[in-house]
């Protein structure tokens, strides 16, 4: 009993001292969605910042997946218990933008804190997503990726295919899957993030609208448009593959990544940021390829980003906002960005980081890691390939996922499913428009 009391007393004493030591510094909270390898790399960045100066301390907390993090942030905001920095994935961007008063815009935050910050240093294809139409940057791009095709070369060989074969179009991919199925490969194709890869990026890549009004950039009165014949053809193809056992559905998010890393899936469409995990776990030879397209359109447009940006929430003291500004400026430093890009497979979001990575010879020694960047910036962006800005989009993605499940399990045709998703999604868009007038 005595020893327990002694331990408690010494702990209390320790906590007191630790408390006073920490009080001297300004502490800010960062809520994010990264676990696993990405979580380790994020922790590394925070530690580096905390060690680099003695005025501020950043404390980071994982709040679950992207959606859970956003919801935790919103709920905390309502209760007045929100963090200084909230990680919001691209899908939540429109919701945040519409909530004027809930955040301090990035340009404002940096100006108030007297922090030197150059929004032009960011790659425009990325920063455009988080910038208002009149050129004001609202949040800071943190991690951005774009979907690519991951190839398990060992399984390709097992299927009697040339692992270097051309997989640039869906037709060619289809042929490869036929061959793999014939050779008894159990999971020739799998995919993560169905809506993001096969509808959102698919639209941009084929230069067709996902939604009207420049995919929502030009106004809240946007309507979904992803039930065009090209979309239907693609989703119907996926459904057919699912029925024939060539494509296996593993879940709505990135569940299929596990199957790929375990060496079960031959071809997978997934974010370029799958790199961190695949590099760490894959015990086979893998390759990165461009996302396939339909040969009918002459050449693919560009793909769009997924990932998150960091929002400085409002209602914090000036001192804390200064700390937030200092930390965000630190994150945009070239060395930090270049390391993040090389470790994770996320895009180099600043031009300088991309240049530094190229100069270091990283792309040469890690072939394929530059494909995502090329694929995103290969053309001048169009109305259809700038990105998406749609309210309630997390819910709409849920609807799309549901409807697509109907196609994969054979209860619905692609036409019926996509028409229904558009109709149901539009109801939510109108509701969002009404709530944010």
């Amino acid at each position: 009993m005595k020893t327990i009391k002694a331990i408690i007393a010494s702990l209390a004493l320790f906590a007191m001292f630790a408390g006073t030591a920490a009080q001297a510094k300004v502490e800010i909270q960062w809520w994010h969605a990264f676990g696993g390898r990405l979580g380790e790399l994020l922790d590394e960045q925070v530690n580096k910042f905390n060690a680099s100066q003695d005025k501020y301390t950043v404390v980071h907390t994982r709040k679950g997946n992207y959606s859970e993090t956003l919801n935790a942030g919103i709920a905390a905001f309502r209760a007045g218990q929100h963090p200084n920095i909230l990680m919001v994935f691209e899908v939540g961007t429109a919701s945040l933008m519409a909530a004027k008063g809930a955040y301090v815009p990035m340009y404002q935050l940096m100006k108030d804190a007297g922090q030197r910050f150059n929004p032009k240093g960011f790659v425009s294809a990325v920063s455009g997503y988080y910038t208002t139409t009149d050129g004001k940057m609202l949040s800071m791009p943190y991690n951005s990726s774009t979907p690519v095709l991951w190839v398990n070369k060992d399984l390709m060989k097992k299927a009697g295919l040339d692992p270097e074969m051309d997989l640039s179009t869906w037709k060619k991919v289809g042929n490869a899957l036929d061959a793999a199925k014939a050779k008894g490969i159990d999971m020739p194709f799998c995919t993560c993030w169905h809506s993001w890869v096969h509808l959102e990026n698919f639209s941009a890549y084929h230069n067709i609208p996902f939604a009207t009004k420049s995919n929502g950039f030009a106004g809240l009165d946007t309507e979904l448009a992803f039930n065009s014949p090209v979309h239907i053809k693609h989703i119907q193809t996926l459904g057919k593959w699912a029925q024939e056992g060539k494509f296996k559905y593993m879940g709505r998010r990135n569940e299929a990544g596990k199957n790929f890393r375990a060496g079960e899936c031959m071809l997978m469409t997934e974010s370029s940021a799958g790199y961190a995990g695949i590099k760490k776990e894959a015990k086979f030879e893998f390759a990165i390829r461009h996302l396939p397209y339909y040969g009918a359109t002459e050449a693919p447009q560009n793909t769009i980003i997924g990932g998150s940006s960091l929002w400085a929430l409002s209602g914090k003291s000036k001192e804390e906002n200064k700390a937030t500004a200092a930390f965000l400026a630190f994150l945009s430093r070239t060395d930090i960005q270049a390391k993040w890009h090389q470790d994770t497979g996320y895009l180099g979001v600043t031009t300088a980081a991309a240049k530094a990575t190229k100069k270091s010879g990283f792309y040469k020694s890690n072939p394929g890691t530059d494909l995502a960047g090329i694929q995103m910036m290969r053309n001048k962006v169009t109305q259809n390939s700038k990105g998406l800005r749609l309210g309630s989009f997390d819910q709409i993605r849920g609807i799309i996922d549901e409807e697509m499940e109907g196609v994969y399990n054979g209860t619905k045709t692609a036409q019926v499913a996509l028409d229904s998703a558009v109709k149901r999604g539009n109801v939510l868009l109108r509701r969002f428009e009404r709530a944010n007038k």
Binding site: N71, G101, Y249, R252, K258, Q395, E405, Y408
Partner: protein, 293 residues
């Protein structure tokens, strides 16, 4: 004969019921009032602005075919969970009641699953039926049965029913066992001497004498299936695929806390409140009459 007690003044009875009234107010009337009030508004997620929309939230809900479908899903789910967990609970209790040696050990082990939180139970079952690493799905595959509850609605439904019933079996077991032990052995022995078979005795003596407990469990289990199962559903299927496991309360949770649509979520709570009210009235008015105390 009912017993009635009369008080002379008004303050003593008022004082005696005050704590109960206070609790009812804080935990029932106040939140219900809030739900009804909120169901008339369309707020933005951050709570920065809100708009009075009258009954539009209800109109929005009742015109959504998926919302209407979730009534059916709820009925299937609640019936399956209540019936299966009560039947198995009764079966195990009947077996445990006849034990002579080691009864305590069996009883403790059978009660154990009740100590596991619904969300954790969900994760455990999900683990076993996981398409990548699950043992159950692995063996099913070996038997030639393709298991993929992320895609097949009936499999997903089966899995959430299984996971929700599992912990409940323990609870029902406990009550049934207590009920069985309260039945005087002499009655059963007398029937046995008269030549009644086991099933005859079970059907004509045990079941009627268990009816108060069965009725109690029926109410409690339906309330459980209606309200306490969203943890299981959230961890296993998140209501999918194609909303085939979205029961009413899960939709309240997911629209409110996942999609941040508080107006619609509040409207759903109100509908659910009315529904459960009606259900309880039916249970007490019609089923309770058949109960022998």
């Amino acid at each position: 004969m009912e017993k009635r007690v009369f008080f002379k003044g008004w303050w003593l009875p008022a004082l005696l019921v005050a704590p109960q009234l206070l609790i009812s107010f804080v935990f029932f009337f106040y939140p219900s009032g809030q739900a009804i009030w909120n169901s008339l508004f369309l707020p933005d997620p951050f709570g920065l602005k809100t708009e009075f929309v009258g009954l539009d939230n209800f109109r929005f809900l009742l015109s959504d075919p998926y919302y209407l479908a979730s009534f059916k899903t709820t009925v299937i789910f609640s019936t399956a969970v209540s019936v299966s967990s009560m039947a198995l609970g009764l079966y195990l209790a009947a077996l445990a009641d006849r034990l002579i040696k080691g009864a305590g050990v069996y009883q403790t082990l059978l009660i154990w699953p009740y100590a596991i939180a619904p969300a954790i139970a969900g994760v455990l079952w999900l683990f076993m039926f996981n398409g990548n690493i699950g043992l159950a799905s692995y063996y099913l595959k070996a038997l030639g049965y393709e298991w993929n509850h992320t895609l097949k609605g009936d499999q997903a439904m089966f899995l959430v029913i299984l996971a929700s019933s599992w912990g409940r079996i323990s609870y029902n077991f406990l009550f049934f066992l207590a009920g069985l032990q309260a039945i005087p052995k002499s009655i059963i022995e007398a029937a046995a001497i008269d030549g009644a078979s086991f099933w005859k005795r079970f059907g004509t003596i045990v079941i009627p004498l268990l009816s108060p407990i069965t009725f109690f469990l029926l109410v409690v289990n339906i309330v459980y299936a209606f309200f306490d199962t969203f943890g299981v559903i959230h961890t296993i299927t998140s209501g999918g695929p194609e909303q085939s496991t979205t029961i009413l309360v899960y939709k309240v949770f997911s629209d409110g806390f996942v999609s941040q649509d508080l107006g619609s979520s509040a409207a759903q709570s109100v509908i659910l409140l009315v529904l459960v009210g009606i259900l309880t009235v039916i249970q007490f008015k019609y089923i309770e009459r058949k109960v022998h105390y």
